[in-house]
Structures are given as C-alpha cells and as structure tokens.
C-alpha cells in the first residue's frame, strides 16, 4: 500500500454490484451518499472479523418449518449451497442469518401492512453456521411475492434475505436470494439495480433435483461468493 493511493477518491460502482443511487428504487434518492467514497487500505481493522460459535444457534434454527407447534402452510423447500471466498475457497464456520415472508407474502414484522394472512406457524427467521466445506442448509417454505409502495402496482419477486459475515469485516454481505423464472424480475428495481445480466443470475437460486427430497420438499441450490481475496495485493485490486 503506497501513500499516494491513500488519498485517491474514486467512484467504485461496478456493474456487478448495485450502485448506491438507483432512482427507480425511490428510497435510494435520499439515502444514497453523493460524495465519492474514500479508498480504505487493508489493515487488521477490516481483514479481521467477529466469530460466532455455535453458542447462540439452536438445533432447529435452520428449520423454519419446525419452530412452532404446527407446520406452516406453503410449499416446503430446502435451500442449500456453499459459501466461498473470492478465491473459491470454502468459508467455514461462518454465520448465515435469513428472514423472509410467509407463503402468502406477509412478514411477521409489525410494520408489514400487506393484507395477506399471517401464519401462526411461521416466523420466517433462521440461522446456521457453514460446515467445514462451507456448506449450509435451510428448510423453509417458499415465500410469496408481495406488494410495496415504490411505484404503482409494484410487487417484489419472491425472495429470501440472507446475511453473511464471512471471515472478515471486509467480506460482510447482505443480499437476497430469488427463485428461477420469476416474471417479476423485469419489473423490480431492487433486482434491476444490479445492471450486469450475469451478476443478476448470481442472485437466482437453481432448482436442484439432487437435493429435492421425494414425497417431501423441493430443493433449491444457492452458492454465495463473498468479496475478499487475501492473496491479491491492494494495488492490483481496482
């Protein structure tokens, strides 16, 4: 890291990541910063990160269909995949948290006013740690699409929110996983904020017969790649 790089100010919106300002997604208009970002040199402050042991994670936390007395309504699904770093190496023992709407497209959240039924058997929150190969697995139900007030007749495609820590502060990611073939993709500014078509595909899970359990649940595969490749020097990163 050389001194002259430190003061450099750049616009880093890459097509493979959404920009901060995407006017079609109305909430970005007053929340996106307008001043250029400052390049932060790599130091221990961001190449380290919190570790979460099994402590806070219960045995059923990755099964959103067994958190209540009865079973939730909806299409039972298994969402599984691997978490990799930028070099393709598995990210081990790393916390994944998820949240989602129920099959009718309603969140348990107090501020969700969508007039669709709540499901007393579904809270829509789960978490787990990746295993030694970076694998994770959730059992849940397929979330429904739901309306929002961004523009007239606006609907979010069905999605599951995912929060990941990876191995360092640098690799922190919150994203959304979508389902293949959703007709709402082209009308959704949050999905479309990622302009690169290949990058869009990386937010869509794949139906997977291999992880589909006969007579029980459909399988969807979703691999997640976090930023951060320690082998690449800062100077070559941009």
């Amino acid at each position: 890291m050389s001194k002259q790089n430190l003061g450099k100010i750049v616009d880093t919106d890459r097509e493979t990541q959404p920009p901060y300002l995407y006017p079609d997604y109305v909430a970005t208009r007053l929340r996106a910063p307008r001043k250029p970002l400052i390049i932060l040199p790599k130091t221990l402050s961001d190449t380290t990160g919190p570790a979460f042991g099994r402590g806070p994670i219960g045995d059923l936390d990755n099964d959103l269909t067994r958190q209540h007395e009865g079973e939730p309504l909806g299409e039972r699904i298994i969402v599984s995949g691997r978490v990799l770093d930028g070099d393709g190496r598995p990210v081990r023992n790393s916390l994944i948290e998820i949240w989602q709407a129920n099959a009718a497209g309603r969140y348990t959240h107090a501020l969700d006013r969508h007039p669709a039924p709540l499901d007393p058997n579904f809270s829509g929150a789960g978490r787990c740690l990746t295993d030694a190969a970076g694998r994770y697995r959730f059992v849940t139900i397929k979330p429904g699409a739901y309306p929002w007030k961004n523009h007239p007749n606006a609907w979010r495609p069905a999605h599951i929110h995912l929060s990941l820590f990876g191995e360092a502060f640098r690799s922190r990611l919150i994203t959304q996983m979508y389902f293949p073939g959703d007709p709402l993709f082209e009308h959704d500014p949050i999905f479309q904020s990622v302009r690169d078509k290949e990058a869009q595909q990386r937010m869509i899970s794949a139906f997977d017969l291999e992880t589909t359990r006969p007579e029980w649940a459909l399988g969807y595969r979703f691999d997640i790649v976090l930023e951060g490749r320690n082998a690449t020097p800062m100077e070559n990163r941009k």
């Binding site: 920009p19 400052i38 130091t43």
Partner: protein, 189 residues
C-alpha cells in the same frame, strides 16, 4: 478461475425479528470502569431521521488486539470470550442508536505504523442497496488522529471531521448523515 462475488441487495425494512432478537448493544457492562457510551442518529438527505437502519460495529480491545485469531500479535491480551468487539443496533423511531463499549487501543496501519483508536462501522438500511462503511474516531486522541493515515488521506478538513465523535453529556456522539452538505465520509473497501 475465481468465482465472481454475489451482488449485494438492500436489508429492506423487515429485518428486525431475525437480526435483532439478541441484544448486542452492550459490548461490556455499563458499570465497567472503562465503559464508553457511543450514540447518535442516522439522518437521510432531507435531514430526517432514518428509523429502519441497522448499525454494526467491529473494534479491537483496549490493548488494540482484535478478537479474531487472524490478529496474531501474541504479546497483546486476546480475550474474545469476554470482549467480542462486535455490536449491532437497529435504529429506533427517532433514528437513534446506542452502544456501550470501551475505547480500543491503537492498531497497526497500512505502512507499519499505528492507526489512531477507531471503531469500524457498517450501516445497512432500506434504500441502501449495499452497506456503507465508516469509522468512529475519538475526540480525546487529537495527536494520534493527526497522524492517522486514513484520516490524513481525506484532504477536506470538514469531511475528515465527520469521522471524529464529539463529547456530549458524558457520552460520545456520532451522527451518520447519509447524504447532504454534512454527509459522513464513507469508505470503499
């Protein structure tokens, strides 16, 4: 071939039940002799408080060592069991957040020197398609702040000052302005 990263998407407005079910606002007990309260408000570009943001912090312990085995400086105390260095807070209806923590020690900088004590901050919110990263520096560290390579890299003095908390009523105040003339400085990692 290296795989391409998964794109970021907004945290949205409905994360609270999933991400905030455990209270992670107190990194140490408030009665601890070195406890520091850090609080502030998140504002949007119209100057309105942001009631649905999530703030996360990550910091070294009082000796300047991070609670992660990747920080291999064995001459410094390593205590992730008692001080995780991680905090999380969902802003309230008034856009406010608050942490109780301790001031971290100085940590290694990019050129072999030291960085002034600071806390790494991630800001997530509805309307943020990817997180914002900033830092909290301490007002009683004028000398160290003056020599900090990251602060020094920001030429505009006023912009630089957005990263230094100020003392207010026995606590430290650090507001986050997402946009506008007094916008907080944010980093590209």
């Amino acid at each position: 071939m290296s795989p391409e990263p998964t794109p970021s998407q907004t945290i949205g407005p409905f994360f609270h039940d999933a991400l905030l079910d455990a209270d992670r606002s107190e990194l140490i007990p408030p009665g601890h002799p070195h406890a520091v309260r850090i609080q502030g408000t998140v504002y949007d570009g119209a100057g309105e408080p942001v009631p649905d943001a999530m703030i996360e912090i990550w910091q070294a312990n009082g000796a300047g060592r991070y609670g992660d085995p990747k920080d291999e400086r064995e001459d410094l105390p390593f205590d992730p069991e008692t001080f995780s260095g991680f905090g999380r807070f969902g802003t309230d209806a008034g856009g406010k957040y608050s942490f109780v923590t301790l001031k971290p020690g100085p940590v290694p900088g990019p050129d072999g020197g030291l960085q002034a004590p600071h806390i790494m901050v991630s800001v997530f919110a509805r309307g943020l398609l990817k997180r914002l990263v900033t830092r909290i520096y301490f007002p009683d560290e004028e000398e160290a702040n003056a020599q900090d390579p990251v602060l020094a890299s920001i030429e505009d003095q006023e912009f630089r000052r957005t990263l230094v908390a100020r003392e207010e009523g026995g606590a430290l105040r650090f507001d986050v302005h997402l946009q506008g003339d007094n916008q907080t400085a944010f980093f590209d990692l």
